[in-house]
C-alpha cells in the first residue's frame, strides 16, 4: 500500500447490459446532465468526480463500459497477459433496468464472475435504474434487494432521468472504499493480492488537490 496522501483516488467500473443506463448514470452524476438521445456506447470512457467524505478529499475515477460482452476484452475490466485474461480487481457498480428482468440476470452473472475472479472483499453496489418508470416495473425490487444483501452489496433505486438516488450510490461506494482503505492501513485486513489476479492499487493523484469538492 502506498503512503498516506492528501487525496485518495478510487477506481470503479460500471457494468451491466446494454441500454440499462450506465452512461446516463455517470453523466448525471459527473456533469448533472441527462439526454434522451444518448448514443450506444461503443468504447469504454473515463470520467472523474471529486468529493469529500469526513474531511477526506476523494477522487472517484469512473470507467463507463459498453454493454456487450465482447467489448470487454478491449478493457478496462480485464487484463491480458501471456497466460490469458484476468478480471481486474476493481470496485463494480452493477446497473440494471428495473423494467427489464433480463438485465438483472446479467447483474447476477457479473456478481458470480467477480466473486470467482476478484478478491473476496471486492466492493460491489447495484443500481436499479429507471425508477422513473416504476409503474411499468416487471421485476420485484424486494427480491433484488435481498439478493444484494446476500452478496454484501447495497442496492439503490436510481433514475438518471430525474437525477434521484444517483448521489447516494456513489457516496456509498466512496464511503465503503474509504472505510476499507482505513482498515487496511490499520493492518486489520491487509488486502493480499491473490495469485494470478491483478490488483489495481489506488494510487494517490499527482495533480494538485482540487479547489472544490463537487
Amino acid at each position: 500500500m502506498s503512503s498516506r496522501a492528501r487525496n485518495l483516488t478510487f477506481k470503479l467500473v460500471l457494468l451491466g447490459d446494454g441500454r440499462v443506463g450506465k452512461t446516463s448514470l455517470v453523466l448525471r452524476y459527473v456533469n448533472n446532465v441527462f439526454s434522451e438521445k444518448q448514443e450506444t456506447t461503443v468504447q469504454a470512457s473515463y470520467l472523474t468526480k471529486r468529493l469529500v467524505i469526513g474531511g477526506v478529499p476523494i477522487t472517484l475515477s469512473i470507467w463507463d463500459t459498453a454493454g456487450q460482452e465482447r467489448f470487454h476484452a478491449l478493457g478496462p475490466i480485464y487484463y491480458r497477459d501471456a497466460d490469458g485474461m484476468y478480471l481486474i480487481n476493481t470496485t463494480a457498480l452493477l446497473v440494471y433496468d428495473i423494467t427489464d428482468s433480463d438485465t438483472f440476470l446479467r447483474v447476477r452473472k457479473w456478481v458470480k464472475e467477480l466473486q470467482q475472479m476478484a478478491s473476496k472483499d471486492i466492493v460491489m453496489v447495484i443500481a436499479a435504474n429507471k425508477s422513473d418508470l416504476i409503474r411499468s416495473k416487471k421485476y420485484d425490487i424486494q427480491e433484488a434487494e435481498s439478493y444484494a444483501t446476500t452478496i454484501g452489496a447495497k442496492l439503490f433505486l436510481t433514475s438518471a432521468k430525474f437525477g434521484t438516488g444517483i448521489n447516494d450510490v456513489f457516496l456509498d461506494i466512496a464511503a465503503r472504499l474509504l472505510q476499507k482503505k482505513k482498515s487496511s492501513f490499520q493492518g486489520l485486513s491487509p488486502a493480499l493480492p491473490r495469485k494470478g489476479i491483478i490488483v489495481v492499487d489506488d494510487e494517490p493523484e499527482r495533480e494538485p488537490p482540487p479547489k472544490c469538492c463537487s
Binding site: Y46, A73, L74
Partner: protein
C-alpha cells in the same frame, strides 16, 4: 420488448427544421457548423465548380455505373485522386456501391436479402432493438419511433445477424448501417455491409466484430500503437508515461470507421476513401488527428489527455485540412509488414475471402501498388 423511450416527441424536430445539411439536429456549438458549412453536400444549388465536378463524375461512372469498371482499370490514379477530393454527395450512394463491390454481390444474390428479413429469425433481435433508437439519435431519419429510418436500420442489422450467425449483431454495426442507409436502400446497404465485413475488395473486416474479444480491433489497435511510437515518438512516449493505450480512444475509430461521434462531413469524406483504399485510411486519419493536436496532447495528464482525444478542435474536424495531412502519412508498407508478422505469429493465413465471392465476380482493381 417494450421500448422505454415513450417520452420522446418525434415530431418536434421535424417541425422545427433545426437540422443541418445532412439531416442532423443542429447542435448548440454554432461555430463548428460555420467552419463546416463549405463542406456541405451539394444540395439544391450547386455552384459552377461543383456542377463541373458532378459532370466529370457522371462521365466516369456512365449510366447506372456501366462505365465504372472500365474507367477504373484505365485510370486508377485519376479515380483515386478524385475520390480523395470527395465524391459528390448526389452520387455518393451509387459510387459507394461500385467501389465496395457490393453492387456485384447484390446482382449475384437476388432475393437473398428479402429471405433474410422476412423469413428468418435472429437470436440478436432484442439486442438490436435496444440499440435502434440509440443510433444517430439526433438525425431526422432515425428520430421517429418505428419510423422508416428505425425500421430500415432494424431490418439491415437483423438480416446481417442472420446472414452471419457467428458474428450476429454487435454494437457499433448500427452506425455503419445507419450511415449507409442515408445514401442507399436497405438491400443495397445490407450488401455493402456484407462486402466490407466479408471482404469483397479489401481484406474482410468481420474480425472487428467477432466473439472472443473483437480480435481484429485488438490487432489494429496494437498496430496503431506501434505506428504512433514510430511516427510520433514523443507522443508515443507520453502515452506510455500516462498509461494511455489506443483502446481508450481509438477503438471506436476502427469499430465504426469514424461514423460514431465524428462530424458527418468528415465521416463521409473518410468513408469515400475507406471504401476505395481500405482500412489504411483509418490509421492515417488517426495519426493525422494525433499529429494535428500533437503539441497540446503532449502536455496533458491522463484525464485531460483522454478528454482531448475524444474532443478534437473544430479545425481538426475540417476534412480539407485533416485529410491532406492524413494522406501525407505513408502507412501501407508498415501495415503490410505488421500483417506479415502477425500471420507468422499466428502461423496460419488470415481467411481472405468468402466462398460466396467467386473469383470471376469481383474484379480486384485497387489492392496494392497504387501508392
Amino acid at each position: 420488448m417494450k421500448s422505454t423511450t415513450a417520452e420522446v416527441d418525434p415530431g418536434s424536430y421535424l417541425l422545427s427544421r433545426t437540422v443541418d445539411g445532412f439531416g442532423f439536429a443542429k447542435q448548440e456549438q454554432s461555430n463548428s457548423t460555420e467552419t463546416l458549412s463549405k463542406n456541405r453536400p451539394v444540395d439544391d444549388h450547386p455552384n459552377d465548380r461543383e456542377q463541373k465536378t458532378i459532370r466529370k463524375w457522371r462521365k466516369m461512372i456512365g449510366v447506372g455505373g456501366s462505365d465504372w469498371k472500365h474507367y477504373v482499370r484505365r485510370k486508377p490514379h485519376v479515380v483515386k485522386r478524385r475520390i480523395r477530393k470527395g465524391i459528390p454527395d448526389c452520387l455518393r450512394g451509387l459510387v459507394w456501391q461500385l467501389i465496395s463491390g457490393s453492387r456485384d454481390l447484390l446482382l449475384m444474390n437476388p432475393g437473398v436479402y428479402e429471405q433474410l428479413v422476412i423469413y428468418e429469425t435472429s437470436a440478436s433481435e432484442l439486442e438490436i432493438i435496444r440499440d435502434i433508437s440509440r443510433t444517430f439519435p439526433s438525425h431526422v431519419f432515425y428520430q421517429q419511433r418505428h419510423g422508416l429510418g428505425q425500421r430500415s436500420l432494424y431490418n439491415v442489422l437483423k438480416a446481417y445477424s442472420v446472414y452471419d450467425r457467428d458474428v450476429g449483431y454487435v454494437q457499433g454495426m448500427g452506425f455503419l448501417a445507419g450511415l449507409l442507409l442515408l445514401y442507399m436502400s436497405e438491400e443495397d446497404a445490407f450488401w455493402l455491409l456484407v462486402a466490407l465485413l466479408k471482404g469483397a475488395i479489401h481484406a474482410p473486416m468481420e474480425g472487428l466484430y467477432q466473439q472472443a474479444g473483437l480480435p481484429l480491433v485488438q490487432e489494429y489497435l496494437s498496430q496503431f500503437e506501434q505506428l504512433v511510437k514510430e511516427y510520433l515518438p514523443m507522443l508515443g512516449e507520453h502515452f506510455i508515461q500516462e498509461m494511455v493505450n489506443p483502446s481508450m480512444y481509438a477503438s471506436q475509430w476502427f469499430i465504426t470507421v469514424f461514423s460514431y461521434s465524428f462530424p458527418f462531413p468528415l465521416a463521409l469524406r473518410i468513408w469515400d476513401v475507406f471504401l476505395y483504399e481500405g482500412v489504411k485510411v483509418v490509421f492515417q486519419v488517426g495519426l493525422a488527428l494525433l499529429r494535428f493536436c500533437h503539441d497540446d496532447l503532449i502536455k496533458l495528464p491522463f484525464e485531460k489527455l483522454l478528454h482531448a482525444l475524444k474532443n478534437f478542435p473544430a479545425e481538426a474536424m475540417n476534412p480539407d485540412k485533416l485529410l491532406p495531412l492524413a494522406f501525407s502519412i505513408k502507412v501501407s508498407k508498415r501495415l503490410e509488414e505488421f500483417k506479415r508478422e502477425y500471420e507468422k505469429r499466428k502461423e496460419r493465413p488470415l481467411p481472405h475471402s468468402l466462398p460466396l465471392l467467386s473469383s470471376s465476380g469481383i474484379p480486384i482493381h485497387n489492392l496494392a501498388g497504387l501508392e
